[in-house]
Symmetry: D2
């Protein structure tokens, strides 16, 4: 940690700061410049609060040198993490998977039919929302417990592991047979929920918040990991900007940044990122080229009757077409580029 | 609701759309232009999903005419709502209050001392965090249940009603004697929590999310109100932008927009918005001039020892000074301007 | 155009609006709902100012149905535009090009050496800044006229057409032998400059502004096109968001949106978008997969001695390596995917 | 300047960096920690490019300690600057002024009538656009040279100094009798224009760019000041965010930040910031309470006939009403608060 002192700080204020730091067992190494004094702190500074330091009137600025995430940090864990979801179905460490299914589970026929369709097209995991976070309390909120049951029936019918979103730790008992628990963008910093998920032994798919930095996202992964659960899949789904042609702005450079900073796998959700069916395929392909470990794509057998997010759902036919391209491109990237 | 059709839509596609709409008991009134056909829908369109309409290939665009919030809407409730917190302590409808206290409850002495100080300076409500949402799992997480107890002791000692943040509906039993329950920015769209708070009979202080629009914020209020609880205080606390000189960008125009759109009271948190103690007072005064119904300000008896957010906390002396100006300005605004 | 009237508008106010509209030779087709009246306007509404309509007290909202760009609009020009830069060097309409070179021209040796290197690696156009827009007046401002001369010497030495940025229409005489004139992000809405460039007969490379929407970007292209010059290459170079891990956030979905809305070619600048050399290659590949018509990449023979933007420049060796992958991927996309 | 080295940097890479720095006549003071080495650089580091340093593989991060603006910096010029516009009309250093007038000059009657109205209401400077930056080339572009003439006639008729926007340095001869030259938001980083304005002896009103930080804004002021012209008035006019209820998000905390960082006066434009007439007054009052040195407000004698931005223009009657409140509040702030 580096502390930059004010050039005009009186001796008494500097002594107060020294006294404060003396409690942390760190060594102060000063560098005296023409206009400033810089202190380098040697030792474990992870417990020192930046905000508190800034309250000292003699402090001009503080800079933390070490990254604040540890368990998720690639520096201390150079090998990429492979998250095992089921026998033969892994994500990360060279394993690429496509998760597909409808925004929300609606009927047994719907979810089972879509499951069979996306499975036939090559998806290995089934998604389907039972608990739906909706901006409006008057919008369809998902079938909730009943939706989970229908999703699990589709799992039985097809053998596909399922991914579905949790909105409250109180619902955990209902998720017993769910294979991957999803944390949605709006709950990325629901820290109490993250802590509870850290105590589970299931993989967690952690979506990036609407307006969260990559570092904050990794700190949320850290919340889960620090409670024990190391099986985390990060999912980029677009961030909020001033642009209105797409629902969000897909940040594909996040893949590259994350590959450098963390060992956790990263997948991309082009459906929520763009919000427009016609833009999904090209963003799926771009994500593959950028090195994503997987995709999560919305597919509905009848988008015009979908109870939510129909505008961004592919039909099974469109999905099949996109899947062929995704697979070809993935194979090409592995054999020729990566 | 207005639907704009594609100029080249074949008749068969238009018929499909008509069939879909026939289920909603609305009347279609077409306007035929040179290049477009516009449909005005007459009747209750609140159940029709915009996204679904957009999936019809013949649909170019859809525009909802009515605002999606009802309970919070000033159109249907022109009188401003007054939220009663305790005997003689109200917010909204002409009643202005300052809420003050430390970011987090640390010790009995600390919270009680700060409580007496801010009370003496004119604050009528005491704030203090027991459950603290922190970006890092390694940062101080608040004293939690013990912190609530200390806060309630300070309430007893001073008679001040208390405001404190909830992070999970599972903690509700601990909040029995809390006067106002705060929902933090990161939980503004924690819909399961909002629904539970809608069943409580306590006032809710609902902070704006880091990157949420005013309309989304009102929809979150609507979640609480639609479950029964009408006592909501909105709190503007800054939004996330590219600017780095302040922690967030305080959006004071939100006050004016909200006064037009809703009957709910609106207060401002200049401490979290700026993140810098030196900027708090001027933003507090600007908020008063803009017509805010109150302020929430961080005060710590020893900011340099604060366990969180010390850099933005005022000392009791600074707070007293700011309070004098706030009161003078508020009185002037009432007598001369509003 | 659709005008939504206030439900409570008195007759006299509505008559004023009718009178205003009578000057525009449009027909009003009203749709009367339960709570609102909607007017569809039939005829040429392009001259009617939205802002003016909003000043009428009886007007609740206005929605333009037609897109405001015409010359750039794919609807009226379905075939993609091919911009011809030199004999055998075209961009768009199936032609893909890589533009490469240093951020700024520094010496004859530097620019000629880099030109030969990037040419050998497969780039067909040479970039090099002579006039440099820098945030600080104390930073290196480019070699200006002398830099242009050195760039043109490199053109002669290698036969590569050159791309370089203009910062003022007053400098146009110096750009006589430049092949493509670049408008930088900060000048995307320098409308006087755009108008002058519209009178030139050279291709214009128009970068997206730091915080501009895709529609605003197309309107800036429209400024150039409406003066006569139709040879415009759009360049996505990242937009400003709250994220700090990259210099800007590369918006690759803009490629897909633009391919739908306009016939103009679109290229991507992964160097300025990320600001980090290590992230350039993966974003270049993602851009190719998303369907970009080209790339512009910074290359410096000695990044550590670069007078600007060294941190994002590739070495010639790195560029050669990236080019091989870009070419392989582009060929694969053409033969297997597009 | 502080350089943080990579912990694993080989000696040879560190020597290269030392060699690079040896050219700058700075002294290196190393601090050796457990995992990192930090170098404090002593001496004049203003010529060292941060980007170049980051290209050295041994460099992990670099932090500049001194602020990059000098002429505008309050540290080196503690007294606030007073910009003198005409005899008895000053802005800054305790002098507060309201600038008012229409978005664009339309006819002699219009501009002269509005001038008389706003003068009668207490405005001391007249604004009126002759050169209008419009997103669309098909929108009204201002009366240009003819508009300037009409504006100067209104100046003669009323004696009010005039403020009007310049869009190209080529137009400077037309601005001979203009009192204050405005640089619009879109030209804040039109550096060639700024340099030319630095050679003029007229006050410059420099608006903040749509998506520019406060530091970038001060660097643009620095461009003007470094060429000689010290008479700059900064104008906050809202920044671009995801919020859509207002045209932009007015950043009033910028006033407080600027008062700390610079000696230049700061005024606020609530008309462009909100884009909605009904929100102008409350933001004008908030700006006064926050300590602004002035306001610039759009007033039109017939907003419904305005050729641009009518929706945000006050009528003369509304302006008179707002002015009374602004004056009362300003007097109160001076006598009781500041």
């Amino acid at each position: 940690m580096v502390i930059i002192l004010n050039e005009t700080a009186p001796e008494i204020e500097v002594q107060e700061l020294e006294q404060f730091l003396s409690a942390y067992n760190v060594q102060i190494k000063p560098t005296v410049g023409e206009h400033t004094v810089i202190w380098g702190l040697i030792g474990d500074t992870s417990k020192i609060d930046l905000d508190t330091l800034l309250t000292y009137p003699c402090v001009n600025d503080v800079k933390r040198i070490q990254e604040p995430f540890k368990a998720a940090n690639r520096k201390f864990h150079p090998e990429p993490t492979t998250v095992k979801i089921a026998e033969g179905i892994e994500i990360g460490g060279g394993h690429f998977q496509v998760i597909a299914g409808p925004c929300s589970v609606e009927t047994e026929e719907q979810i089972t039919e879509v499951a069979r369709d996306v499975q036939a097209a090559g998806a290995r995991l089934l998604r389907g929302g039972a608990f739906k976070p909706r901006t409006s309390p008057y919008a369809f909120q998902g079938l909730r417990a009943e939706g989970l049951e229908l999703l699990l029936e589709a799992k039985q019918a097809t053998g596909m592991p399922v991914v579905t979103e949790i909105m409250s730790a109180a619902h955990l008992p209902l998720f017993k047979d769910v294979d991957v628990i999803q944390v949605g963008a709006r709950n990325m910093q629901n820290f109490e929920l993250l802590k509870e998920l850290g105590k589970q032994d299931k993989p967690i798919l952690l979506k990036r918040g609407l307006a969260n930095t990559i570092e904050e996202w990794l700190m949320s992964a850290e919340y889960i990991m620090s409670e024990g659960n190391q099986n985390i899949i990060l999912c980029e789904r677009g961030i909020r900007t001033f642009e209105t042609a797409t629902r969000n702005t897909l940040d594909l450079s996040a893949i590259t940044v994350l590959k450098e900073k963390t060992h956790l796998p990263v997948i991309v959700d082009p459906s929520h990122a763009t919000g427009v069916r016609r833009y999904v395929e090209s963003m799926a392909l771009a994500a593959v080229a950028a090195g994503a470990d997987g995709l999560i794509i919305e597919v509905h057998n009848n988008p015009q009757k979908a109870l939510c997010d129909g505008a961004q759902s592919l039909t099974p036919g469109q999905f099949e077409n996109t899947m062929k391209k995704v697979e070809k491109l993935r194979n090409f990237m592995i054999s020729e580029i990566f």
